[in-house]
Symmetry: C2
Subunit: 243 residues, 2 copies
DNA sequence: TGTACATCAGTGAACGCGCGTTCACTGATGTAC
DNA sequence: TGTACATCAGTGAACGCGCGTTCACTGATGTAC
């Protein structure tokens, strides 16, 4: 989609470079102070430019925010994708656990970026449509693993809809949209797993795990429990029997 | 703990009333604009007072925020407690589902309050210790139901620790702290259920459920699925067989 | 290759805004005798 | 019950700050002939 930039002229080259520098500096301020503290003036100050100069590159603060949001989603998506790519394609349990760990790892490495996209909405800011694509990268990775596992017959599929028949329709519709071939109850479990992952990461980052001594242990156990809930194979060589 | 106020003098009565009015107005602004837009000056303006007058009641903006945070936790806790109290004490599945729905209902009725306490941390604000009590009300309700269900032999307890033996220690420690008698693997499932609940509510409120046509259906199905995961009895009279 | 013009990056001042907090002060309420 | 003093609520001006955005402008770079 994005045309490969050619940099015909020195001006274009300079423009691209300065755009990058602005984004980098904004990213630095986002990372250290959070989205609320990010200001055009501070970025310009740090870059040694007049604040008005930034308007040659971004028409408003919101556009800069959008760029950062897309960067964040892409960073997370890329990390998850490459984590997944590093696994044996047919070891679905390992792929799931690895990608979950990648999500948490990225969130812990980039807490303010994580808060920007998964925390409270920025007041007054409305995410434009073009954030949807990058936002769905991580979802696609997770869904892809479950789709593959389902195709290999490795997902729990009870055919039961504990909340009633209404779910059958909605679950089927969602399956057709995003996870073709998955039965509606497996779709529900996938959504549970998905929201659990981000719920746990958010609780850890936002300070709601009071009393939990070692979040690493909790995370690994939670991921393993959810993996079992989904029907994914358990890790090899791990204590699976009675303790 | 809190002493019952006596209002010996008119001054004390007036003080209590104005404190309430400030909190109410701050709550209104929080509800309509969100925490970031809440300012002492705006509250004072709306109340027809000088902004400096608020300092007779709250020593700083952060103290006002703390009061609002405590109110939010208490509002959620109370709603969950009374939802639980309205159920038959021995119908653990129904209690669980009812309280989960109460959490979501409160969050949807008070989205900015929810975001204040479960969204991104307010930049520069550090929650003081006295928020911990109110924050744990909702947790106590959820844990209480699972403890009761466990005591009645109605929780899944495999005795397995899919993430390895390390969890056995941490899970046992947590059980001793908050859920006496629960085996470590059930503790893990409880934590999964807890974080899933808030993860799903956050995703719904923060706009991450793109493509989900009917969040009500998803929520009910998710709660039911998680209930089954925990081992709680399914709802009566619901489609539990093959569709 | 050189010139005339158009395009564009960047400047610096200014606008208008709102914020949290402090301070000396006034006037009302409460208290002790 | 009445008076003298202490306590406290509330005022209004001010401090010092930072923000997003606009605008007329300068000077450098690019383009067409």
């Amino acid at each position: 989609m994005e045309p490969v930039p050619t940099f015909a002229t020195a001006r274009e080259r300079a423009r691209a470079q300065i755009t990058t520098e602005i984004l980098e500096e904004a990213g630095r301020q986002l990372a250290s102070e959070g989205a609320a503290a990010l200001s055009l003036r501070a970025v310009a100050r740090q870059l040694g430019m007049a604040s008005s100069a930034l308007y040659r590159y971004f028409p408003s603060r919101d556009e800069l925010l959008t760029a950062l949001i897309i960067e964040a989603y892409d960073g997370l998506g890329e990390r998850a994708e490459s984590a997944d790519a590093g696994c044996r394609a047919d070891d679905f349990g390992e792929r799931w656990r690895t990608v979950c760990r990648a999500v948490r790892g990225w969130a812990r490495d980039n807490p303010h970026q994580y808060a920007l996209v998964y925390g409270s909405p920025v007041p007054g800011y409305i995410a434009p449509e073009r954030t949807i694509g990058p936002a769905s990268r991580i979802t696609r990775v997770l869904v892809g693993i479950l789709r593959d596992a389902g195709a290999a017959g490795l997902l729990v599929t009870t055919g039961r809809h504990p909340s009633g028949a209404a779910w059958e329709h909605e679950g089927t519709r969602l399956a057709n949209e995003a996870m073709p071939g998955m039965p509606p109850d497996a779709v529900a479990r996938a959504l549970v797993a998905w929201t659990q992952l981000f719920g746990l990461v958010s609780f850890e980052l936002f300070g709601h795990l009071v009393g939990v001594a070692d979040p690493d242990l909790l995370f690994d156990e939670a991921v393993a429990q959810v993996g079992a809930f989904l029907g994914l194979p358990a890790p090899h060589g791990t204590d699976q029997r009675e303790a």
